[in-house]
């Protein structure tokens, strides 16, 4: 009954040929291409063998390297199989777009907003892609939007980008 990593890999590879697999101490990570992302996510959720019905989190990593600078990570859980899975997809820094997964899991709505707010990755088709934590007009003095979890963002922020109430 237990869901093995091989089963998960089989299910994913049935819908997308280009899936690479990373296994670390039994924890499975699937690395997919952006074009296959939704197919894989839908299949992982709807296939009766895997049933990854719970989306735990979506976040991103800034590897601070040219080319595929960002990697968006989906943390999935299957309640029926008590299994967990990571799905990663690389995002090129010149094309910060990914399809939204709100149609797969409703929970993706806020996670994608958070990822957009922190890294500037745009989820196409998202119903309400606004900033999540930072103010809507969070930008530097040239009007460039700021994304605080990018590696080129200074730790202490940019002076003047976040206003304080006046002291009386």
């Amino acid at each position: 009954m237990a869901l093995s990593n091989n089963d998960i890999i089989q299910v994913a590879k049935a819908v997308a040929a280009d899936v690479s697999v990373v296994e670390h101490h039994g924890d499975l990570t699937l690395v997919v291409k952006a074009a296959d992302l939704l197919d894989v996510l839908y299949e992982l959720k709807d296939n009766p063998r895997t049933t990854f019905n719970l989306l735990i989190d979506i976040t991103a990593i800034d590897w601070a390297k040219p080319g595929e600078r960002y990697e968006v990570v989906y943390f999935l859980s299957s309640l029926a199989n008590a299994a967990r899975l990571r799905v990663k997809v690389g995002v090129h820094e010149d094309a910060l777009h990914l399809p939204t997964s709100v149609d797969v899991w409703e929970a993706a709505n806020w996670y994608e907003r958070e990822t957009y707010d922190m890294y500037g990755i745009i989820f196409d088709g998202h119903p309400d892609l606004r900033r999540f934590y930072m103010p809507e007009d969070f930008m530097d003095e040239h009007g460039t939007p700021l994304y605080p979890l990018r590696k080129d963002f200074p730790l202490m922020g940019i002076p003047g980008s976040l206003p304080l109430p006046p002291k009386d």
């Binding site: 922020g157 206003p163 304080l164 002291k167 009386d168």
Partner: protein, 177 residues
């Protein structure tokens, strides 16, 4: 019954109206619990039975800023939250005092990063800082006692100086000798 008889029977105290007012004020400071994060837990302990701030007349946490005269800012104030803290502070009637509880509130503490205000004294007049992460309730009581001393030394103004209340600055009301 003549005045003499009454004094003989009841005793008397001589004082000034001002010291009577400051005495009442300092022993009935109503805190506005601005509990934003983990320090708020110790602030609750400060009001609870063990530390028991009611010994100092401050057990009445006022969740309406309009009835409070001491704001205890307990927690990490982010830039986003700073506007809320300030708005609540502005709603408190003068005279009022402010305690910055914990290192986060006092200096930003361990959160030396872009969203956290590096000390609420950047936008609020703070009367007492409490160190610790979180400070023990006893430390907060020490700050409260310090505020009480400060109130006792201040001179209350009894008239509103003929101005609109909005025009009166805090410094007009609290004259520290």
């Amino acid at each position: 019954m003549g005045l003499n008889d009454q004094i003989t029977r009841d005793g008397f105290v001589t004082t000034t109206v001002e010291s009577l007012i400051t005495w009442a004020q300092k022993n009935s400071l109503w805190p506005m619990p601005m509990g934003i994060s983990c320090c708020a837990i110790e602030m609750m302990a400060f009001g609870g039975p063990r530390a028991d701030s009611s010994r100092f007349g401050s057990e009445r946490f006022s969740f309406s800023p309009r009835q409070a005269d001491l704001m205890i800012v307990a927690g990490t104030v982010t830039y986003k939250m700073s506007w809320v803290v300030k708005k609540i502070w502005d709603q408190m009637p003068d005279p009022k005092w402010c305690i910055a509880m914990g290192v986060c509130t006092s200096t930003g503490g361990m959160f030396r990063s872009y969203p956290v205000v590096q000390g609420i004294d950047l936008f609020l007049p703070v009367d007492a800082y409490v160190s610790g992460c979180p400070p023990r309730p006893e430390a907060l009581i020490k700050a409260l006692m310090y505020i009480q001393e400060k109130v006792a030394e201040s001179k209350p103004q009894l008239i509103n100086l003929g101005k609109d209340s909005g025009d009166i600055r805090r410094s007009d009301l609290i004259v520290t000798p």
